[in-house]
Symmetry: C2
Subunit: 406 residues, 2 copies
């Protein structure tokens, strides 16, 4: 993965302080260790699932679904999958019914994923599906050790897998939470983790990524009051769900009360897909308020030869310049043109991330890159990157309403 | 549709000025007239498409696809459709191949939609598909009168329909651009327009919507420097693509150089879906910088009886309060709980839009509501709501690259 910055920030003292803090954080934040884990137990568990199962359905929401979905949807169009993967992640009844129409219960294995073990959405849907499919061996549970959900699952005779210690939901894609559904569908999770590991080592062992990540994070933090909207502009439809994963990671980690002040701070994530969003959001970036940074993500080699045919159409000769051009080349030219146009503005912080191709290794690296960037920026803008106290108030009100049947 | 504001703005002089400007704008901006159009020609054209055609594929991008997609995806889960609808809206080769695998060319009718007639994405894909499916009667073209595309289509012997005068792409969903694909798939476009017409009349004829839209628009405009991120938080999965339509409408209309100053201004749209995004973006709204307004959209009656069964599970008794609750009731309780939690913060501008049910009439009203709101805010923040000069620079660079085959 190549990362080119179109901005600079050279305060090495600040960068060293951030790096040291992250090195220390490894002692108590679990996600840093995930690239080095032993995946044999996960692969072994996968082998216990019958070959007659052709569908995996995750019952989970937020951090329990977004990561696996990001990887699956990135790889799927380019690889024949062993099983289909669906996500029950809403209490919308229409959505539940629509999903149920797509699956055959007798050939589906369900993964019930809830870190706390008491997520309202997950448990509502689980109760409904369990009433339809009462064979408990069709369900596997993933939760924190000792949760009420674990106790229930044991009593019901179901299998339980654990989240590793100190890994929060939105940083859990490279744990059992993401790896189990992905491995069951035929995604190469070894390559996924190797990609993440390469990125990790490059950062922690003075490699290419250390300087770049520190420079980018410190620039974002320094200018967070001005450039407080951080757009990803990905030129590949298959990165659509990666953008959704990024939105949770960035928004939920960095929208906080500062630790040493009472101020509300926050960096707002936006996910865009090119070239489609050139016809939507680009105008706002180009001429709107100067409050946005933009990171372009490109696929260097789509490994695809689909080509615009050499056809000249009467009255449309002006577009003959498209003839014989591979679509893969066109989409990257479109991306380069937009970068150039924005760069000419001079006051929009830009950078590009180039993935060599669509592969497990590359998405693993991209995931770990964004996790590290989030940790660094969180440290530098002085927030607790790993909690989410703001979502509790709504849950308390809901429980009150439920108990009063309001 | 009921709109409840949790904020006030009472300067009647400013509101009157905005209203008068919009009344005057009707003389030269075409979208205001769309609810009153005669749809007989569109329905008649639909009847010329063979019953053997079971798939409609739109080749179009931005304003040529987002509107029809928003309506189709809103209605589809609740209604059996006459035909399937797909959208070719990217130059991503993997995406084109994936879409082609889903359709049977011999049973597909293509709608090539380009206002200017020379959109690079649309024409690249058209050339490719035309080489596969050389029978020109499988294509219908929608473009501005007199465009090169119209001339080509006529020469090729294909049918051409026109966009009405002075209707821009992102305001075109209620014109042929949206109505033709929707009608071909069995969407009741008469009801769609009636919903829009009801909203229009309520606004222009001193009805319920006049005061509310003026108050909301003037509040947004007055505080645009502070609350410059405007979130829609829709509690229905079927509004996902409505959010994408809103993002284009709002961002591309309101991100501009001001007319009477050199300043860049802009209101940034964000589309969220509940309850999913309670587990993603909500933390940032709750504790992040006070720069966001939030509009909740609720479906009052999902017309769905799916219910959480009355099952008590050992160790999980705390969640028995969910038993016997219809999902439709739960999702609205979740929405109300988040509204209450945010309202307690006191400094986040909130409002709610309640649709009585999932119907063509309601989505028609919602579309026209947002178009009017956009026009009003654009007028009040002093931008040209209807152009998009910022996207030209990238197009010029691309054409240069293409001609040099760089």
């Amino acid at each position: 993965m190549i990362n080119t910055l179109y901005f600079t920030f050279t305060d090495k003292a600040i960068q060293k302080k951030a790096f040291d803090a992250i090195v220390k954080e490894q002692e108590h934040i679990g996600y840093y260790n995930l690239p080095d884990q032993d995946i044999a137990p996960i692969l072994e568990y996968c082998s216990t699932i019958s070959e007659a199962i052709d569908t995996i359905a995750v019952i989970g929401i937020g951090g329990s679904s977004l990561g696996a979905k990001a990887v699956y949807e990135f790889i799927r169009p380019n690889k024949s999958m062993k099983r289909k993967l669906y996500f029950f992640e809403s209490t919308d009844p229409v959505n539940i019914t629509t999903l149920l129409e797509k699956i055959d219960l007798s050939r589906t294995h369900f993964l019930v994923i809830s870190k706390s073990g008491s997520t309202v959405e997950t448990f509502s849907v689980y109760k409904y599906l369990y009433a339809l499919q009462t064979d408990i061996s069709s369900f596997t549970f993933i939760t924190d050790p000792g949760s009420a959900l674990e106790n229930y699952a044991h009593e019901a005779g179901a299998s339980v897998l654990h989240l590793p210690k100190n890994v929060g939901g939105r940083f859990s894609v490279l744990s059992t939470v993401g790896l189990l559904p992905l491995a069951l569908c035929g995604i190469d999770i070894k390559a996924l983790l190797e990609g993440a590991k390469g990125l990790k080592e490059s950062f922690f062992n003075d490699g290419y990524m250390k300087g770049i990540l520190l420079e980018k994070a410190s620039f974002y933090a320094k200018h967070h009051a001005q450039y407080h909207i951080n757009c990803i502009f990905a030129y590949s439809e298959s990165l659509k769900y990666f953008c959704e994963w990024y939105v949770q990671l960035w928004g939920e980690s960095l929208g906080k009360h500062q630790r040493h002040s009472a101020f509300n701070v926050g960096l707002t994530p936006i996910g865009l897909i090119g070239p489609k969003d050139q016809h939507s959001f680009l105008q706002l970036i180009m001429e709107g308020t100067r409050d946005k940074s933009v990171t372009f993500i490109k696929i260097e080699d789509f490994q695809d030869t689909l080509t615009i045919p050499n056809v000249s159409l009467p009255h449309m000769e002006a577009l003959d310049m498209l003839n014989d051009l591979p679509f893969a080349k066109l989409i990257n030219m479109q991306c380069d043109s937009v970068i150039e146009a924005l760069h000419e503005q001079n006051d929009i912080p830009l950078d590009t991330l180039t993935l060599s191709n669509i592969s497990e290794s590359n998405i693993g690296a991209l995931i770990f890159y964004y996790e590290l960037l989030t940790s660094l920026v969180g440290e530098l803008i002085d927030v607790n990157t790993y909690d989410q106290p703001g979502v509790e108030a709504g849950k308390v009100i809901l429980k009150k309403k439920l108990s009063q049947k309001m």
